[in-house]
Symmetry: C2
Subunit: 685 residues, 2 copies
Amino acid sequence: MGYGETDWKAINTIRLLAVDATFKANSGHPGAPMGCAPAAHVLFNKFMTFNPQNPDWLNRDRFVLSNGHGCMLQYALLHLFGYKLSMDDLKAFRTVDSICPGHPEAHDTPGIEVTTGPLGQGFANAVGLAIAQAHTAAVFNKPGYELINNHTFMLFGDGCAMEGIASEAASAAGHLQLGNLIAIYDDNKISIDGDTKCAFTENVSKRFEAYGWHVQYVEKGDDDLDGIEAAIAKAKEVKDKPSMIQLRTTIGFGSLLQGTGGVHGNALKEDDCKQVKKKFGFNPEESFVVPDEVYEMYHKHAAEGASAEQKWNDMFKKYQEEHKELGADLKRRLDPKKPLPEGWEKKLPIYKPTDGAMASRKLSEAVLEAIHEAVPELLSGSADLTGSNNTRWKKAVDFQPPNLGIGDYAGRYLRYGVREHGMAGMMNGMSAYGTIIPAGGTFLNFVSYAAGAVRLSSLSHQRVIYIATHDSIGLGEDGPTHQPIETLTHFRALPNMMVWRPADGNETSAAYYMSLTSHETPSIMALTRQNLPQLENSTVQNGIKGGYTLIEAENADVTLVSTGSEVSICVEAVKKLKEEGITTRVVSMPCTEVFDAQPKEYQLKVLPDGIPAMSVEAMSTYGWEKYSHEQFGLNRFGASGAYKDVYKKFEFTPEGIAKRAKATVDFYKGIKPRSPINRAFQQLL
Amino acid sequence: MGYGETDWKAINTIRLLAVDATFKANSGHPGAPMGCAPAAHVLFNKFMTFNPQNPDWLNRDRFVLSNGHGCMLQYALLHLFGYKLSMDDLKAFRTVDSICPGHPEAHDTPGIEVTTGPLGQGFANAVGLAIAQAHTAAVFNKPGYELINNHTFMLFGDGCAMEGIASEAASAAGHLQLGNLIAIYDDNKISIDGDTKCAFTENVSKRFEAYGWHVQYVEKGDDDLDGIEAAIAKAKEVKDKPSMIQLRTTIGFGSLLQGTGGVHGNALKEDDCKQVKKKFGFNPEESFVVPDEVYEMYHKHAAEGASAEQKWNDMFKKYQEEHKELGADLKRRLDPKKPLPEGWEKKLPIYKPTDGAMASRKLSEAVLEAIHEAVPELLSGSADLTGSNNTRWKKAVDFQPPNLGIGDYAGRYLRYGVREHGMAGMMNGMSAYGTIIPAGGTFLNFVSYAAGAVRLSSLSHQRVIYIATHDSIGLGEDGPTHQPIETLTHFRALPNMMVWRPADGNETSAAYYMSLTSHETPSIMALTRQNLPQLENSTVQNGIKGGYTLIEAENADVTLVSTGSEVSICVEAVKKLKEEGITTRVVSMPCTEVFDAQPKEYQLKVLPDGIPAMSVEAMSTYGWEKYSHEQFGLNRFGASGAYKDVYKKFEFTPEGIAKRAKATVDFYKGIKPRSPINRAFQQLL
C-alpha cells in the first residue's frame, strides 16, 4: 500500500530496460516484461526476502519465471537489486557468452533459480522448490528455530497454462497442499498465434480450484498495485493450499502494439520505443536508463535482505550449537561442493560371483535400502510404479500433507502419480533448492514422456537420478508399447547426462556411487525386470570407470562390448566361440559418458587397436559405432511375450551373439582395425 | 433398458475371459476388464455401430481404450462380436507373435483403432479421431447424405487422467466443442501404487467442466446398466460439447482382491479364478468359456452393424453419382493404398541454383502453399507457433467450431495451442481415422515434449508429419534451452520414422514427396530458421534417395557427409580444401532412413570404399559413425546469440570444416578405409 511516483518510475524502468535490450538485440520478448512489471515490482519489494550478495542463501524466497521468454523482466530486476549483473550485461542480452542469454539459465546467471523458457518447466520446478522447502523445514525446523520458512513465487503465462507438464505439477501441488507456493498467472490473453480464443478457452481458475488450489482474480494487473499486493498477502495467509492469482494484464503495456501478438516475440520498432519512453516520462533519445531513486529503492530492499540473511546466519550458528547433529547435517548440505556424509560409500552393497542372480531393479532397491540412512538428503519416489521400480526402502515414510494420515512432510518417499514429465520437472526444482537429491522412478520407455524436463536436468546441472526400470525387450509381456528401442541412444546423445546400464550388483553400486557424487550431472539408471547373475571381475572400482575389460584374453580375435543384461549372455557366448576356435574379450560398458571421460590410454587398453569389436545391446545400435566396429542390436520394435521367448526371437542368445561375432572375425580377417577410440581430431566440448 | 440374464452372462463372460487369459499368460491386467465390462457391454451393444467383417468401414463408431493395459476387455469384445480374433488368439495373449499383445496395437489386430497402453495416448487419439470425424463430415456430408456421423467413444482410467497429454487433449477438445466425443472415466480409485488418495485427489469432474466438457456421474458402475445407458444416451444428445461420464467401478470386480491394487496388474491366483467363476455361475473347472447365448447376442449386434454398413454403401454409391467430385475424392481417400490425387507431385516447387536463398521453414511453407489444393486430405497446424513454423497457407481456414466466428469444421488449419504432446497424440488419432494426413508444427526441440506420442506414430504406422522448425543452433538468440543437440539422434534411432533435414528447396520438396507418399511411416521435417542457398546438383530425384553425391570428384581425398544448413557450408569448404591441394566430395544426406533403404550398390557409390568420410552436422555426432569415419558436430549445449556468431563460436564455417577434413585426410594417409556401408552382417529388421 502507499505506492507513489518512485514505484511507477521503477516499474517503467523495468519495462524500458526490456524495450531497450530487445531493441539492441533485435530479438527477444518485450511483451511479457512490460505487462508483468507492476506485479514483479510489488512481489519483489513487498514480499520477497533475498540477498543479492549471496544468491545461495538457503532461506531466500524463490522466484521462478515460468514464462522464461520474458527473461528481460528477471534480468532487469536482478540488475536493479544489485546482483552481479551489470548494465553491460543487460546490453549484451542475447549475444554469445553473455550471462543474459535468450532464456534464463540457472547455472550461469546469479539469481536465476532454475532454467526456464521451454514452457511449463518453470511451473513444475516451482512445485519442486516448494516440495523441497516443505521437506527441509519439516526436517530441520525446531522450536525457536524456524530456519526454513521461505516462499516460492512463480509467474506463468498462457503457454505454461496449456502445457501438460504444468497440469501434472499443478495437480500434484494441490494434492500435496503446498501452502508455501504462490503462482501469479499472467492472463494477457495473447500467445504467439494471437488471441488465446483461437485455442485456449477453458476456465483456468476453475481448473486450478479443481486441483485444490486457492484461487484469486485481480482485474487490473496493469495499474492496481494495491490489488496485487492484497492478493499476494491473502495468498500468504493460506497455509494449506497452493495459491494462484489470475492477473489480467496487457501484454506490451505502453507499446503501440500493446495487447496484441505483435509485441510478444519481437522488439519494438524505433518509433514505438521512443513513444513509450515519452509516455512513461523518460527521455526518448536515451537508452538503458535507471533513475537514481529507482536504484536507491531497490538497493534499500536488497540491504534489508542482506540483514535478514545476517540474522538468519546468527540463528543458524546458535542452532548448530543446540542441535549439533542436524546443524552439522544442514551445514554439510549447504557446502557448494555438495559432499556426501563421510563413509556413506561403505554402505554400498558388494557382491561375489557366487551371490544369487537378481534383477538390477532389485539391486537398485538394495542400494537404496543400504544407503538411505547414510545419505539423508536422498528423496526417492516413483510415478505410480513403486512396486515395479523398487524405489522404496522398507521403512520409508511418504512425503504427504500430515492431515491425510499417510505420511508427513519429513517423509522421503514421493508418490508422483502417473506424471512422468511433471515428476522430472519437480525433481529439477527439488534439486535446485539445494538440500535434496531427488531420485524418481518410471519405466525407461516413459522417461521419454519426461524428455523436455530431462534435457533441463542436464542443461542446468541438476543432480537428479532417474530410476528407469524395465529397460529393454527383457520386460517381456508388456510388449512393444513399453519396450525401449531408441531411448538409451536418445539420452546418450544428450550432453551432461550419465546413462547407466549396470550388468550386475557391483556395477549397480558403481552407478549409484557416480550418480550421487557427480553433483553437477544427472543420471538415468536403466535397470532390468529380469534376473542377472553376478559377474566375475565386476567390481565397483571397475564400474566407476564407465567401461572396463571384464574378460581379457591374449591374442584375442574379437572384443564384445556390451551393457546390462546382455553382458552375461556375452560371457556365455565366449564359451561357444571358444569351441569354434575364436578367442574373445568382453568389455562391460555400463556408462559410455563416464568411459569417455577416462584417459585415452585407459580407453585404448579397454578397446585396443588391432582387434575388431562388436557391440551387443538389445536395442538400437545407433551410436554404438563409436565404440565398436560392428553392432548387434535391435533396430525395430520388440514383441510381447515371455522374456526368454522374446530374447530368443531376436537372437540375443549365446548362439546369436557367437554367430555374429564369428561373422565379424571373418569380415576383419587380415585386417588389423584401428580402435574406435583413435580419432582424427578432438570434439569441441 | 430391459437388461436380463443374458446381458449379465455376457458381462461375466468378458470378465472371465480376462481372468483366464491373464492367468494363462501369468501376466497382464485383469482388474480393469473386470471393472469395465458392464459399461463396455452397454456401450458396444446399445450405442455402437460397426461391422466386424469390415473393420475399416469409414462411418463405424470408434472405440478407444486409453487404459490400454485393460486390453483383454477389448480382445474379448472383438472376439465375441466376430472380428478375426479367435479363441486361440485369446489363449495366445501376451505370447510372441500373437495378435493379442500386452497392449493393443492398431496395425496388427483387426478392430483395434489406435495403439494404446502408454497412458494418456488413447485419450489424445480419441480427440484426434473426433476432430477427423467432424472435419470429414463437414467436407463430405450433403443434404440427404449424412455420410459421416459416427461417434468416438473412449474409456480412460485414473492413470490417463493424471497424464499431461490427456489434460492437453481434453482442453483442446473442450475448445473445439467436439460433440461427437464421449469419454467414460473408469473411476475405480486404484492405480499401481494403490489408492489414488496417495497422489491424486483433485476433482476430475470439475476439471473437465473447466475445460468445457459436459460431465455426468454414475455412482453404480458395477451394476446399474440402466444408469450407464441413460448417461451415454444423454451424452449423445449433447452436440456442442464433448462428454465425460465419471463412472464409479470396482477394479477386479468379483475377485477376492476386488477394489485393491492387487488385482490391477497381476493375474488372479488359481483359487481366486475358481471362486469368481463360481460366483458368476460358471463352471470353476472350465476356462475360456463363452455361452452360446452370449455369442448369439453379440453376433446379432454385429449383423446389425453389417447391414448398417450395407445401407451406408448404398448411400455412398448414390452420393458418388450425385456429388461426383467429392464422391471420387472420398473413394480415393478410402483406398487402402492411400494414393494421392493424380499429378499432385507436379505442384511441388522446383528450384534452380540461381534462385534466392530461403530458410527451409519458408521452403516448407512454399510446398504447403503449392500443394494444398491438390492434396485436400492434408490438414496443417501448429502448437502455437504458426508464424514461426510457417505451417499455414495463405487462404487456409481454421478448423474451429463455427459459433466462434473464426473458422469452421471444414477448415484445414488447426490451432493446437501450446500442447505439443497433445498435438502429436491428436494427429495420431486423426491419421487413424483414415481420411486425413495431419501435419503439425513446433520447434524441433519441442518435438521432444511429444516423444511419447511420436514413438506411437512410428509403432502404429501413422502417416503423420511433424514440421519441426528452428532445427539447430542456427536458431540463434533463443539459446541453449531451444537449440536441439540430441533430438535428431533420438528420432533417427526410432524405428519406422523418417527424419528429414533438407539442405535447400529441391530437397524440401523431396522430403514432402516421401512423407506424403509413405503412408505407413511418419516423418519429422527438421527445418531452419536461417536462409539456405539453392544448391547445384540438388534435385527432387536425388533427394528422394535420402542421400546422394552432391559434388563428385575423381581421386577424392575425403568425402564430406552433411545435412541441412551445413551442406552449403561444406560446399564452401571444398574450395578452401582445394587451395590446400585436397580433393573433396560432398554427400548430402537429408534422410538416413531412406538412404538405408537404397540398394547397397547405390549406397557404395555415394559412400565408396577407400575414401575417408567426415560427417558435418551442427548437433550431436552420435550415430554419424554409421555413415562416416570421422565426425564434426556439437556434443555440448549451444549458445545464445546471432546465428552467425554462434556458428562461428563452434567453428561451423568453411574454415572449421576444412581444418577437420584435413585432419581426417592426414589421419587416413596410407590407409584406404572401407566404406561404413560395408558390414560384417545384416541387422534384423
